[in-house]
């Protein structure tokens, strides 16, 4: 990169992502207004009519992993942003960066262990649930209808499984994003505690003869880490918004704050008939596990 690039790039990243994030928040506000205007909000929060949940209850373990993932990711986001923008929170706290760094390290270790645990749970445990995340051909075919539902063009969306294609796509994307984020995050640690060298040295190929500057590669790793940080923040914001606005009982249930009221939610099922408000839900060929 030329001089102007390396100087400007950091500043560009700050403004591009903060701008995109603000635009995204405005868009979500717009979507919320759409929920009000189309009556979806009233049906959900006033009449308490939510998607039907007739699958088995979600086991404790994935809920626990999700909870500690949420907690750690919040810690990572706040401490990570502090490391980049010292003082944006806890401004008057002297030498807060050291604390933030260590909090960041601890949280990233928790998230990394959690990721490995979740992947094991998905693919190798007795209750492996990776199929719930697999994108099928039907998902792809019906994807436009899902999108049209979210932009209020269609009153309902096809239910093909526990998650719709947009959820699946984002949850699947989270796995490689987390792996890259963990890798680039560890690559930013410069304390030489691994055989006299730092994790950065080993992870970024400092031992390779053609690597001219590990610091420069570290700079690229930092940029990647920072970009992914914003993607996580944006995806998570959308995820939280849709979890609350589209399926609040499931949101509460995931944090152990309530159990599903199956009688009420059953009024809004998706078995190809009209619900109490005449909303026509399309037929779902597979068991409905709309958690």
């Amino acid at each position: 990169m030329s001089e102007i690039d390396i100087l400007d790039f950091n500043v560009w990243l700050d403004y591009v992502f903060t701008t995109v994030y603000v635009v995204m928040l405005i868009a979500l506000c717009g979507h919320f207004v759409g929920n009000i205007l189309t009556g979806r909000l009233k049906r959900r929060f006033r009449n308490w009519e939510w998607p039907h949940h007739d699958g088995p209850p979600i086991p404790f373990l994935p809920k626990f992993m999700h909870f500690q993932h949420v907690f750690s990711m919040i810690v990572l986001a706040l401490t990570g942003l502090y490391i980049r923008f010292p003082g944006f929170i806890f401004g008057g706290w002297d030498n807060a960066r050291t604390f933030m760094r260590y909090a960041h390290y601890v949280a990233m270790i928790v998230v990394t262990i959690n990721l490995i645990w979740r992947l094991w749970y998905a693919f190798a445990s007795a209750r492996r649930d990776y199929r719930e995340f697999a994108i099928t051909k039907q998902d792809v075919v019906t994807a436009p209808k899902v999108i049209l539902y979210y932009i209020f063009v269609k009153p309902s969306k096809p239910h093909l499984g526990k998650y719709n294609i947009m959820q699946k796509a984002v949850y699947i994307a989270f796995a490689p994003m987390l792996i890259i984020q963990a890798y680039t995050g560890f690559a930013l640690v410069t304390n030489p505690f691994l055989f006299g060298e730092s994790p950065r040295f080993w992870l970024l190929g400092g031992f390779l003869p053609f690597v001219e500057s590990v610091d420069l590669i570290g700079w690229y790793a930092r940029i990647a880490h920072y970009i992914l940080n914003w993607l996580f923040i944006m995806f998570t914001t959308i995820h939280v918004y849709l979890s609350v606005s589209e399926d609040f009982p499931a949101f509460l249930n995931f944090f152990g704050l309530s159990v599903f009221d199956r009688e009420n939610t059953a009024a809004h099922d998706d078995h190809g008939h009209k619900d109490t408000h005449g909303v026509d839900h399309e037929h779902a060929p597979s068991p409905i596990l709309n958690d």
Binding site: D94, R97, T98, T190, S213
Partner: protein, 290 residues
């Protein structure tokens, strides 16, 4: 004839008048005490300078001459007598010394013991190029002396094998450099160096970690640690960057220029413009109701 009672009253009145007048005369005159201080201790100076109220009005500013003996006793110079540093001390009071004399003395005060540091300082841009007998030019007069950076001078801590004092010194960038270089202090705001340092990050570099300390040179000087030929060594010093190459070193341009680069960013300018427009609209609306 005066009565005995009247006589006694007049004598008492005369004594009272004399009793009030003598101190008043003493205050009105510049006092001139001739005294000798013990050369092997500080107790003589501290008779006066241990008083918290000791000071002098210069214009409308109160200049304190109080010296906290406890701080002094904990400092690196606890074993040094006052006149070991105040080498111009004259046995007269109230020690009226011309400013230029004081400056010259301050230059020399530390030199006697800290010869290496003095030599290093003499090679840097902060060195004052004035010889005894010469008048200080305006430019030279603004250059710092040892005590301007190493302040408060009575509480200088021993740094050798003293991590606590080193850490304390590390975070004194504003006091040591920022008071004379406010623009440079304000612009030291990049992500990982300045912004963190100014918020007390012990692992962020202080001014002198990059600019050197006693032998500070202008960055255009080839001997400067910040000359482009020396940046790799400066950024690559122990505890900083391992092997910065030429491309990586370009980041150094952001260390004091982040605000500048930000102000030049078109997206920032757009956002700033929008922000100002919104503020203008709200200002207009507010003006309608006030």
């Amino acid at each position: 004839m005066f009565s005995a009672r009247r006589m006694a009253f007049l004598i008492a009145l005369a004594i009272a008048c004399v009793g009030f007048l003598i101190p008043a005369i003493a205050v009105a005159q510049d006092y001139d005490l001739n005294f000798t201080l013990p050369t092997a201790g500080k107790s003589g100076c501290m008779v006066c300078h241990g008083d918290k109220n000791l000071g002098r009005l210069q214009g409308d500013q109160f200049i304190s001459y109080w010296v906290d003996g406890r701080d002094l006793d904990e400092s690196a110079h606890a074993a040094i007598t006052c006149s070991g540093c105040h080498i111009d001390f004259a046995y007269k009071s109230p020690h009226n010394i011309e400013q230029t004399d004081w400056v010259r003395t301050a230059r020399l005060a530390c030199k006697n013991c800290h010869q290496d540091q003095w030599t290093a300082y003499s090679l840097g841009v902060h060195s004052i190029a004035v010889q005894p007998g010469q008048e200080l030019s305006e430019d030279e007069a603004t250059k710092p002396l040892c005590g301007d950076c190493h302040q408060p001078s009575h509480t200088i801590k021993m740094l050798t094998d003293n991590p606590e004092a080193q850490a304390e010194l590390h975070l004194r960038g504003f006091e040591m450099c920022g008071t004379c270089h406010p623009d440079e202090w304000d612009s030291y705001s990049d992500y990982y160096h300045g912004a963190a340092y100014r918020r007390g990050a012990v692992d962020a570099p202080s001014c002198w970690d990059c600019h050197d300390y006693h032998t500070i040179q202008s960055s255009s000087n080839r001997d400067s640690t910040l000359h482009e030929d020396n940046l790799d060594k400066t950024c690559g010093q122990d505890g900083c960057h391992d092997d910065p190459n030429e491309t990586y070193l370009q980041y150094a341009g952001l260390v004091h220029r982040r605000d500048e680069v930000r102000a030049e960013n078109p997206l920032y300018q757009t956002i700033d413009g929008v922000k100002e427009s919104i503020q203008g609209i709200f200002g207009t609306i507010r003006a309608w109701f006030t």
